[in-house]
């Protein structure tokens, strides 16, 4: 079973949510990262995600599988969008089920943190003023870095 995938299309949260059901699961935690209308004080109206798909898929899968073992999860799934998104779209969805809420909260948080740190996906924000730029983790665009 594939636990991490990239999606060119809107994430079907309800289907992915059902995929993590388990009769022994007392706790389900889900995280949605959504496109919001501002970043670092700038007004955002859309963005693109680009992935190095081959490596993103293998790294993402590794992250989610590691979480299942590390936190003793019953189920876990993560999905990340690629392509063009607008305000309110779900960019990334992470859902986990566990016997208890400690493990579920910790695992969900750990997965999204690992994805943000280690999975080769990049965000290009399009601002209301017409500017745009690829973001790197300190939150600043790099397209205008000095050479």
């Amino acid at each position: 079973m594939i636990l991490f995938r990239l999606s060119e299309f809107a994430i079907d949260i309800e289907a992915d949510r059902r995929a993590i059901d388990h009769p022994a699961a007392g706790a389900v935690v889900a995280f949605e990262g959504r496109v919001r209308d501002h970043n670092d004080g700038r007004s955002v109206h859309a963005l693109d995600y680009q992935a190095y798909e081959r490596l993103a898929e293998s790294q993402g899968e590794r992250v989610v599988r590691a979480a299942v073992v590390r936190f003793g999860l019953h189920r876990a799934v993560a999905v990340h969008r690629v392509g063009s998104l607008v305000i309110g779209d779900v960019a990334v969805w992470v859902g986990v089920s566990a016997s208890h809420r400690d493990a579920a909260f910790d695992a969900c948080r750990w997965i999204i943190d690992q994805i943000k740190a280690d999975v080769p996906i990049w965000k290009n924000e399009h601002y209301a003023d017409g500017d745009s730029g690829w973001l790197h983790p300190d939150g600043s665009p790099t397209s205008d870095l000095p050479e």
Binding site: Y49, R54, A91, V92, D118, P120, N124, P137
Partner: protein, 79 residues
């Protein structure tokens, strides 16, 4: 030796392309990047990047072979 290089995000913007095949005497990931950096004027030093060969992260001193796919990974911003 010929390698296929893929560029993403700001590296692709700077290179003006997302992919190129280069013939090079370079034999490590590091030296492949230094050539590409000179060619395209990349801002990133290798301390800011990671490198993947054939779809797996490797160290910068890893050997690169004819036909390999080499990808320089700028800081990621998914999520």
């Amino acid at each position: 030796m010929s390698v296929r290089i893929l560029y993403f995000a700001s590296l692709a913007d700077r290179a003006g392309c997302s992919e190129e095949c280069v013939d090079s005497p370079a034999s490590t990931a590091n030296s492949i990047y230094e050539e590409a950096r000179l060619r395209h004027g990349f801002a990133f030093g290798i301390e800011s990047l990671r490198v993947a060969v054939n779809g797996a992260f490797v160290s910068w001193d890893s050997a690169v072979s004819d036909g390999d796919e080499v990808v320089f990974i700028p800081p990621v911003s998914g999520g």
